[in-house]
Each structure stands twice: as C-alpha cells, then as structure tokens.
C-alpha cells in the first residue's frame, strides 16, 4: 500500500498550520491596538490654544485652583472661563497670535473648545472634591503637569487603576497641604505616612471598593 501522507505533504500541512496561527495572532494584536484608548498615555493632546502648563504652573507658578476653581467644591474640577485667561492677557501678550482664539472667544462670547485629555466613561462618577479633601494630590493622577507643555495622560484611568488606590489608599495619599504641590515627594516611608493619614482623614477603606462608590 502507498503512504497517504508523503513526508513532503506532511511538511506543507505543518507550514500551512503555522501560517494560519501567525495570521490569527496578528489579527488579534491589530484589534487590541485599534481599541486602545486615545489619546494614548504619554502622547500630548493638541489644543486650539497651545496652553503650556510648564509656563503657567512651572514658571509663573499659578496655583491649580486659579484656573480649576471648582476642584475643591465640585465633582468637576472646572475649566477656566475665557474671562480668567483675560485677567492677565488683557495686559500681557495681548496680540500674540497664539492667543488669538482666546481674544476671539472673549469678544464673540463663543466658548473655547478644548480637547478632553482625561475622559472617563459616562457611567463612572468621579468626584474631584472628595479626592482633594482626602489628600489625593493632583499629580497622583495627572502627573507632573508643571513639566507638560501640552497635557497628556499619565494614567490608564482603567477600573483596575482606580482600584489599585481604592484598595490601599495609604499607598498614595499625602498631607492636605501638599495636595496641590506638584513636586511633593514623601519624605520617608509613604506607607507609614499613608496609614497615619488614612486614620487622620477618616477614610473608610471598607467601602472604597463598593461598586456604588463610582457607578450609579
């Protein structure tokens, strides 16, 4: 009897299988990339006005709250009204071309359109004020914005990222007076400090991983 499967045939079969496998692997990879959140972590987001936090925060030394005024009272940190920009820019760099959109908005009354950098799904209810009140520093989530010419995302903002802190806030929280200090580093052991602060700030860690803390 003749062999049904000559070695050459077997070889080609194996090669065929190999090709199929690689192709499907590539396909999966491509899909994963296509659904990756955008803008990607670490990639600066273009804006109508190339507003530089490096300049305003790093060099001029504005406090976060000067522009993000409602961050301590509201869920929403607040984006400065054009008028806030104009408090300075009615005198400074008034005719700088890069400021043209601001001036235009000021005159026309049409709001500036900023591109969102930190965007949570709409079924997630994040509240800035409570995080500020419990010692979560701006930089903890937003990174060193004072070193960002254009803002980019430093955190994935995925649920597991939130949980990482909600499960053990002591890993991240800082003294209340350091919340807006973008350069703050724990002097000694963060965990020890954190544990003390969790006590001091009455953070109920038990309920922090409740679904209802973020989802309604």
């Amino acid at each position: 009897m003749a062999q049904v499967f000559q070695p050459r045939l077997i070889l080609s079969l194996k090669l065929g299988a190999l090709v199929v496998l690689t192709l499907s692997a590539v396909a999966v990879l491509a899909w994963r990339i296509s659904i990756a959140p955008h803008p990607a972590i670490g990639s600066p987001v273009e804006q109508v006005v190339p507003f530089s936090h490096v300049h305003h925060v790093g060099e001029v030394g504005l406090d976060c709250r000067y522009c993000h005024a409602s961050v301590e009272q509201s869920a929403f940190a607040g984006i400065p009204p054009t008028h806030t920009c104009m408090t300075c820019h009615s005198q400074l760099f008034t005719d700088a071309p890069m400021l043209a959109p601001v001036v235009k908005s000021f005159e026309s009354g049409a709001p500036l359109q900023w591109n969102r950098v930190h965007d949570l799904p709409d079924f997630v209810y994040f509240n800035h004020s409570i995080h500020i009140a419990k010692g979560v520093g701006c930089a903890t989530c937003h990174g060193p914005v004072n070193r960002m010419p254009l803002i980019w995302r430093t955190a994935s903002l995925e649920m597991q990222w939130c949980l990482e802190c909600h499960r053990a806030p002591e890993r991240h929280i800082r003294p209340l007076d350091k919340v807006f200090d973008l350069n703050w580093q724990p002097a000694g052991d963060q965990l020890a400090l954190g544990k003390r602060l969790v006590e001091a700030y009455r953070i109920h860690t038990a309920s922090l991983t409740d679904c209802s803390i973020c989802h309604r």
Binding site: S34, I35, A36, P37, H38, P39, A69, S70, Q73, S74, A75, F76, G78, I79, P80, P81, T82, H83, S105, F106, G109, A110, P111, L112, Q113, W114, N115, R116, D119, P121, D122, F123, Y125, N127, S129, I130, A133, K134, R202, H204, A206, S207, D210, C211, S212, I213, H215, R216
Partner: protein, 993 residues
C-alpha cells in the same frame, strides 16, 4: 400580541427627524454639551444599528420623551471618541461648575400656584421639588408639577411665530398689531376681546385692568374647562358674594365629602393631602384620628381613602346633602330617603358630625351644582365649623365671574360679528370649549385673531397669528396660591425658542411697545413692595413667596333667602336614566398635558390605565349591559354621540358612566395625538359636569387599553395589612401580623455587618393616598425612559416605584388599598445570588446596587425578585437623538442602554452626594439630609428614608412601631424597605356593607 410590534410605518420617523433638528440653540456653555453631542457619533460608531433605531415605528420614537446621556461606553470594545470641553466665557454669579443649584419659582394649574424649587444643572432645569415655604406645597408636589419640567423640554413646543400657518416673525406681528391698534384706539377698543385662562397673577391682572382702562369698550373673557364656577356661584348663593373657600383638614375630625376630591383635584390638593394625613396621625395611632365619610359618583383618591364611602349618582348627591341638612334640623325640603344611601349611614354620619361640632367639615365637590355648595356652607355653619375648619376669603382669582357664561358671551358676540380683534392667551378653547358652544366655528370670521400658546394646537390652527409662548420655567411672572399667597416666578433658563410671555404680549397691546417681562414685573412690584423694594424683591425670589400676601379671612353672613331645595325641585331629578359625568383626567388634566409622555404613561391611580381615557362603568352596569373591558360603546347624551372603550371600575356608582376630559387631541404633538376620545364632544355648557339621559349602545368593536395591573385582589395574601383603630388598641400587632420584619430567623450564614450607614425606608400605608407622585418624581430624578402604549400593554413599563392598588370586599363598595412598591433593598437579596456577573450586588451600606455597565441582561434577577420591582430595557428605550430631551436628564444618573436591568436605587446619587459632602466636612450624614425623590414629593409624607444605624433617625423610630412589617417577610429576604400597616378609622356603629 403575537405579531411582532416592530413592523410599522416610517412616516413618523421622518417627521421626527425633521422635528428634532433644534434644541441646541439654548446651550449656553457647559461641559456636558461636548459629551452629549460627541455621544451621538460615538453611538453610531459603536453600534451602527442604533443609528437608525428610530426609523421603526411610532411608539419607538416615544422614547423621545425620555432620557439618555451616559450611554457612551456602556459597551466596551471600541475606541472612545475625542470629547470636547466647553468652558464658560464668563462664569455666572455664584455658580460652581458641575454643582446643581435650586431656584424658587412656581408652576400653575387652573391659575393657582404651586410653589417649587427647580434644580438647575449647569443652566438646565432638570427636576422640580416642592417649596417648603409655600403654603400650597410645604415641600411636596404632585404629578402634574413634577412633569412640568418635561413640558419645558418638549421638542413639540411651538418655536416660531406663524401667520396662517406660514412662518413669520414677532416684528411682522407687532407691525400688523400696530396697524390694528390704531383702529382700535379710535373706537375705544370696541371689538377687542381678550380670552385668557383663569388669572391669579396680580401683575397680569393689573395689565389687563390698564388695558381695559385704555380701551374702555374692550372686553376680557376667562375660560378654563375645569374651573371653579360652582364654588363661586355657591358662595354667591350662600353669602351673596363670590368668595374663596379654604378648608383646614388638619383641624377636622369628622369629614364628609359630597362628591368632592380634595385629595386628588382642587386648587389646594397637595396641601389638603398633607393636612388630612396629619389629622389621620401619620405613622401611627393618632390621639384622635379623623374619620372620612365620602359620597362619590365615581371613585376618586378621596373616596378611595374614605373610612365610609357610598357610591351615588352625582345628581343624587344633592338629595343626600338635603337629607343630612334635614337630619341637622335645617330648614330644607328633603326627600324622606335617598336612593342608594342607607338611612342609617346618613344618620351615623350626622351623629359623627355633630359629635365633633366645630371640628367637623362638609366639603362639596367642584362638580356639584351651586346649591349643594350653598347647602354645605350652611351645614358647616350649623355645625360651627366656620372659622375653624372652613374659612372664607376674597376670591384669589382676579375675576370670579362665571367662566362658562363668559365664554358663551364671547361666542355670541363673535357670531354677531361684534368682535374684530380676538387675543387668545393660553388655553385651548377650540378644543376644550363645551360641545354646544362651538367656539371654533366663528373664529375664521374675526378680522384679527391672535393666539399665544405653548403649542401650535387646535386653537392656533384656527387663528391667523400663532405666537409661541414661554414656558413657566422660562419667563418672569407671578401667581397666587389657593390662599392668595403670591409667588414671583423667575425663569430658570432663557426662552429656548422665540417665545414671549403673556405679560410681554399685553405690553405690546397696550401701547405696542416691547418690554421685557422682567421690567413689567419689577414695575408692578416696585409700588407694591414700596420702600426697601430691592430687599423685598430678592427675599421674595429666594423664598419663593411674597410674605403677607395671603388673603385675610373674611367673616361671612349667610343669606336669609336660601332656597329650601335645588332648582330641580324637591327630591331632585332622580329619574332612573343613566348619568354621564365628566372628570378631569388625572394625567392630562383638561388636555393641556396631553403631549407629556411621563404623564401619559403614568398609570391612573384607580384604573391603572395608561395612554388612554375610557368610559368608566360600575361592575353591576357592565353585567346588565354585558359589557367587558375594552368593549367600544356608543355614548349618546342630549343628541351628541361618542364612541369610547369601556373600563369596569369597582366602587363606581351604578347608573353612572364617567369620562375624563383631555383626550382625543388632534394637534397636541407627536406624543399626545390620537390617544383616547374627546369627551368635550359630549360636554354641554349648561351642565358641564354631569347630565342624565345617557344611552349606551354596544358596537361589538374592541379598543385595546394598556393597563399596568391586571389583578386587583390580594387572594388572601397579607400584602397590604390593615387594622381599624379599635383593633389596634386591642392588639397593636393586629395589623402588622405575626411575621414582623425583625423576627430573627435562624441562619447558617454569618451575617454581614453594616457598621457605617445602613439605609432603610419605611412606607406608611396609612398615609398613602395613591396619587402616584412618587412614581413620576422617580421618573424625573432617575432618567427613566417612557416605552409607549404597546410596550406597556406587554408589561414592559419601566417605573422604578409603582403604586399597587388592591380591592377588598364587594365590587359595589370595595375598600381600596394602595401600596407603593420600590426596590425592597433586601439584605438577603435573591436577585444578587443569581446574577452571574456581579452586576447586582450589595454595597457596604446595605444597598442592593445595580451596576448597569456590568449587566449582560440574563433577567434571572427579575425572575428571582419576589417583588417584581426590576425593570428591563427590552429595546433601546432611552432616546439618544433629541438634544432638548437629553438636556432634561439628571447628569448624576447613568442612562441605561438596551439589554440592561434597572431598578430603584434609593436615589443612590443623592446618597453619594450626601456622603461626599459629609466626608468633606468630616462628619456623619444627618438624618433628613439625604431625601429620596419619592420621599420628597410625597404630599402625605408616607415615605421616610434614613440611616438605620442612626438611633435618632425618623425611619428608625418608624420601624420600631408595632405597625411595621416586611412585605413577604416570610421569604427571609430581610428587606430594608418595610411598611407601616394601614390604620382605618371606621364608625363602630356602621357595619361594612
């Protein structure tokens, strides 16, 4: 039902898409807009099939009338779109970005004000709450008030000035008007007529007076299809002058309602319910609980709650009243007996009334003729109630003239061509005028007809000019409450469309100059508030009431020449023919709420019908005529005929067919058109509320009606637990029964500890009058979608809290029980154990939370929920296409997508905000700090909510009451929501028939 509901025509869909291209105009500048607009493309990109979801059928687009904001991202697996943030250009005064603010204003019904606080999210009015400082509200509201916010955002509102159907402008109008005014000025306004709804607004009244002064020969007419003519005529008959009558139900111990529905209708219903519940002793055994006797032609909230109720034809109520008067030895000619009411019933009632002299009360229904009112006044006087439980004041309305007469006069003059300029402000007379008045006919003959209205409706269609009116939440105005207290109504948002207020229009008429409502109001109140105006003004705005504007009590003297019997002669007209009665519709009222989908889908308190009205008949009558529900009958009364579907209602007086007004609209809008039948087509102007001689003919046709409750008996299950005060005194456990919520049941499980907050709710069935306000407040608060008639008929309504209605006893005179059923928030939640994805889980405060974005829609939780309070999005119910409706949504609540389960969350968004505020302040949440939407709205405060771990909390105290019991507690679900058994206070002398 077996055919697929989703195969209907496209025409609606096309109209719809033309319809909602607007709405964006009102955006000031808020970050949400970015999200909402980005959201649409996101949706299409994510689920292309949703994009044309709408081009399916009529009902689908009813989803228009409900919410969608945060669907984005509910489905994973795709890239998020680039969203925009739009900051303010100039931040408004005192606004904190992202935080809601509340403004005091008022909404009106039949002219009477209901004081409200409106929640504004980044400039968008989203929710109405009662104003605790307002006498008509005391913090509560009702269904119609709750729904008003949806009316504001209704995409079907008229948006442009039209002339003979062609789009025009205000400028064109004012020039046209200007020309007309020249002529009018010449002949002192002869031929100028102004038709308004009932006016209580001092400013508007003043404007009208000024106008009439300017044009002496002009005339002002008033018409509301549901008006208080009988009340004023009644006082005229009794006291010789028109007066407003005020009842102090909290002070009354024995109350007799003569076909009156003071709890469900009337100009002070919310306040009345609050006072009544107080007299009943909310949440326990009052020292002296009041007792309510009711004579009712058709069941109402009031008669349903009564301790003793007899069903009587409306026309026979007069006899009953006479008989009672007689028993009180008043000089009347009364029949020896009243058909339909046992003599001993009347006797017992009278004994009770006398027993509580000075603390008793007889209330005549607004549908009853003046004579019955006069009798009631006389009886109250005889019982020494005047000044205690009933007081009188000058009329609250600007002009108490008989409105029916006023409209008839106008129509006469129109027919006689004595009218050349007709200004119709609000209302919808062409639709809602009595059938024999035929208001619409003459209109085309009037040289200039102008209509200011919210909708381009039946009346607009017959007027040359239609002017878009501003919504109550868009404009400056003022209005009086039932006791005369004035509220300054301030706009929550600039007019969405080209609307103007009645004040502004009147300003144009007088002098033709254009003045803003704001200036008009301030001018008027400048002189009223006089010195220190600014402070008075801002206080009034902040508090929502102008202090000291309540009308003073008036001492009255009864006329000597009161007739001894009614116009129909002694023993009234008790021919045995059928009687047709007209009632305001609990949802669409006189038809003006017809385009409000929340109200359309809100089950009527007693029939549990949605989306339609019906001809209500008593079981006995149905039996005689072999009628079944949904049978279409021809109602013929006084030569006019109308086809209507039948609905059988226990407790309806035999020989009475009642039809509710406000349906059969043709130009209400996309929601309201084509539902129900137009009862006005039968309504005679001389007997607007009831008339005899009705004939019924069975057509053999059927008309499907959508009800939310098919079974009305408790089948011996102790769901609603009831006891009389007497029984309670013998054994406090009598009502709540043996299976008390707190009986510990052995368990192998180590129970979870809830040592933080432990939220719980207590619902007092003894106070619930079944008004449904909770249901609609919940709908507004929680972005609950509307599903439409067909879906309701399939049992797919979405209400998170429903009010179950059960009957006990005979079908002729049943006892009616209401039971609001929200999620019970069981500690041993059956729904959670069977959820495969942890979408239904418990949190550390004992809440049974539903995580929409984790739900895959197995529906096992619903199967396993013994209370069936879970609601499922069988389709994409939430609308995501209509900007104006998205704007209404509560940004604090996720909008659910197709395929996920939802349910009552104890308003978790309010809890969360309360928790956050408390945490920031480093304290615990105080009792009463977190109030659920249903609790806030409840007129009788039947719902209490709070922290069970707070020993001082009200809810804790209530749950300690012996009346407290858990619904289906024997299933060991350990519900956090428990009930207080209902205490009734029947007269021991009277056996229940």
């Amino acid at each position: 039902m077996t055919e697929d509901p989703h195969t209907a025509v496209d025409s609606e869909a096309i109209r719809l898409r033309l319809g909602d291209t607007h709405g964006a105009t009102m955006w000031r500048s808020l970050d949400e807009i970015g999200e909402t607009s980005a959201f649409g493309d996101y949706l299409t990109q994510q689920f292309p099939r949703f994009a044309n979801q709408f081009q399916v059928d009529r009902r689908e687009f009813l989803k228009l009338m409900s919410a969608s904001l945060a669907l984005a991202g509910l489905g994973a697996c795709t890239r998020e779109p680039q969203e925009k943030i739009l900051p303010y250009v100039k931040a408004p005064q005192g606004a904190v970005a992202g935080e809601p603010r509340f403004f005091a204003t008022a909404t009106t019904l039949g002219g009477f004000a209901m004081g409200v606080l409106v929640e504004s999210n980044m400039g968008r009015p989203t929710k109405v709450e009662g104003n605790p400082m307002h006498p008509a509200s005391l913090g509560s509201t009702d269904t119609l008030t709750q729904a008003s916010v949806l009316g504001l955002w209704d995409p079907d509102r008229s948006q442009v000035v039209t002339r003979k159907g062609q789009i025009s402008t205000w400028e064109n109008f004012s020039s046209a008007l200007g020309r007309q005014l020249i002529g009018l000025a010449r002949k002192q306004g002869e031929g100028l007529r102004i038709l308004t709804e009932t006016v209580t607004s001092p400013t508007l009244a003043a404007q009208l007076q000024a106008l009439l002064a300017r044009y002496p020969k002009a005339q002002w007419h008033q018409y509301d299809p549901i008006n208080r003519d009988n009340v004023y005529d009644g006082t005229r008959m009794a006291f010789g002058e028109a007066l407003d009558v005020r009842y102090r139900l909290d002070k009354a111990r024995t109350i007799l309602s003569l076909d009156a529905d003071f709890l469900g209708a009337g100009n002070a219903r919310v306040r009345a319910a609050r006072d009544f519940a107080q007299g009943r002793g909310a949440g326990g055994r009052a020292a002296m609980p009041n007792r309510l006797y009711a004579v009712a032609s058709s069941p109402s909230l009031t008669s349903a709650f009564a301790d003793h109720c007899v069903a009587l034809r409306a026309g026979d109520v007069e006899n009953a009243a006479l008989r009672i008067a007689k028993l009180l030895d008043l000089p009347v000619v009364a029949p020896d007996a009243v058909v339909g009411v046992a003599e001993d019933w009347l006797a017992a009632c009278v004994r009770d009334l006398q027993a509580s002299r000075g603390a008793s009360l007889v209330v005549a229904g607004e549908a009853q003729p003046p004579f019955v009112h006069a009798l009631a006044h006389r009886i109250n006087h005889a019982l020494g109630n005047v000044g205690v439980t009933v007081t009188y004041s000058e009329p609250v309305v600007a002009d108490p003239a008989n409105q029916g007469e006023s409209l008839r006069a106008l129509v006469r003059d129109i027919a006689a061509h004595a009218v050349d300029t007709l200004i119709v402000i609000g209302g919808n007379p062409v639709y809602c005028a009595p059938a024999d008045v035929r208001f619409g006919d003459g209109l085309l003959g009037v040289p200039l007809t102008v209509r200011l209205g919210l909708y381009e409706d039946e009346t607009s269609a017959r007027c040359q000019w239609h002017l878009p009116a501003t919504h109550a939440l868009e404009a400056w105005s003022d209005a009086r409450a039932y006791d005369g207290t004035v509220t300054l109504m301030q706009p929550l948002i600039a007019p969405l469309y080209a609307g103007r207020s009645a004040h502004e229009l009147l300003a144009m008429l007088g002098g033709g100059t254009l003045r803003s409502g704001y200036d008009i109001m301030r001018d008027y109140w400048q002189e009223k508030l006089g010195a220190d105006f600014e402070r008075g003004w801002s206080t009034a705005l902040r508090e929502g009431v102008v202090t000291g504007t309540a009308l003073p009590e008036k001492t009255v003297t009864t006329r000597g020449d009161l007739p001894a019997h009614g116009p129909a002669g002694p023993a009234g007209a008790d021919d045995s023919s059928l009687e047709l009665i007209f009632t305001p519709d609990p949802s669409v009222w006189d038809g003006s709420f017809a385009n409000n989908a929340w109200l359309q889908e809100l089950p009527r308190p007693l029939t549990k019908l949605t989306w339609d009205n019906a001809a209500l008949v008593a079981p006995a009558l149905a039996k005689r005529l072999s009628l079944q529900n949904e049978d279409v009958v021809e109602l013929t009364c006084r030569g006019r005929t109308l086809a209507a579907p039948v609905w059988i209602v226990p407790g309806q007086a035999d020989g009475v067919v009642s039809v509710s007004l406000g349906y059969g609209r043709t130009r209400a809008g996309r929601v309201g058109n084509g539902h129900g039948f137009d009862a006005y087509a039968l309504r005679p102007s001389d007997a607007p509320w009831f008339s005899r001689g009705l004939q019924i003919r069975k057509t053999g046709k059927k008309y499907p009606l959508a009800t939310t409750q098919h079974h009305h008996a408790m089948d011996g299950r102790d769901l609603v637990r009831v006891a009389t005060v007497a029984e309670f005194d013998q054994n406090p456990q009598a009502a709540s029964g043996p299976r008390h919520a707190t009986i510990p049941i052995g368990t192998l499980y180590s129970p979870f500890k809830y040592d933080g907050y432990a939220w719980g709710m207590a619902i007092n069935l003894g106070a619930c009058i079944g008004c449904n306000a909770c249901t609609i407040a919940c709908q507004a608060e929680n972005n609950i979608p509307v599903v439409g008639k067909a879906e309701v008929a399939r049992g797919r309504e979405m209400h998170w809290i429903r009010v179950d209605r059960y009957y006990e006893g005979s079908a002729h005179a049943p006892r009616t029980h209401f039971q609001p059923v929200p999620c019970m928030q069981c500690e041993r939640a059956p729904c959670e154990v069977v959820c495969p994805t942890e979408a239904s889980v418990h949190d550390s405060e004992g809440l049974n939370v539903q995580v929409y974005n984790r739900c895959v829609g197995t529906r096992f939780c619903s199967n396993n929920c013994p209370y069936k309070v879970r609601r499922f999005n069988f389709f994409q119910y939430a609308d995501e296409n209509t900007e104006s409706l998205k704007a209404q949504r509560n940004p604090e609540v996720t909008v659910r997508m197709r395929g996920v389960m939802e349910k009552c969350s104890y308003c978790i968004q309010r809890i969360a905000n309360g928790r956050i505020e408390a945490d920031k302040a480093g304290r615990r949440i105080r009792d009463g700090e977190v109030v659920t939407a249903c609790q806030a709205v409840c007129p009788t405060q039947a719902i209490s909510f709070g922290d069970l771990n707070d020993p001082a909390s009200r809810v804790k105290a209530l749950k300690a009451s012996p009346l407290d019991y858990a619904l289906l507690g024997e299933l060991n679900t350990r519900p956090r929501t428990t009930y207080l058994a209902k205490l009734t206070n029947p007269n021991p002398d009277l056996k229940e028939s």
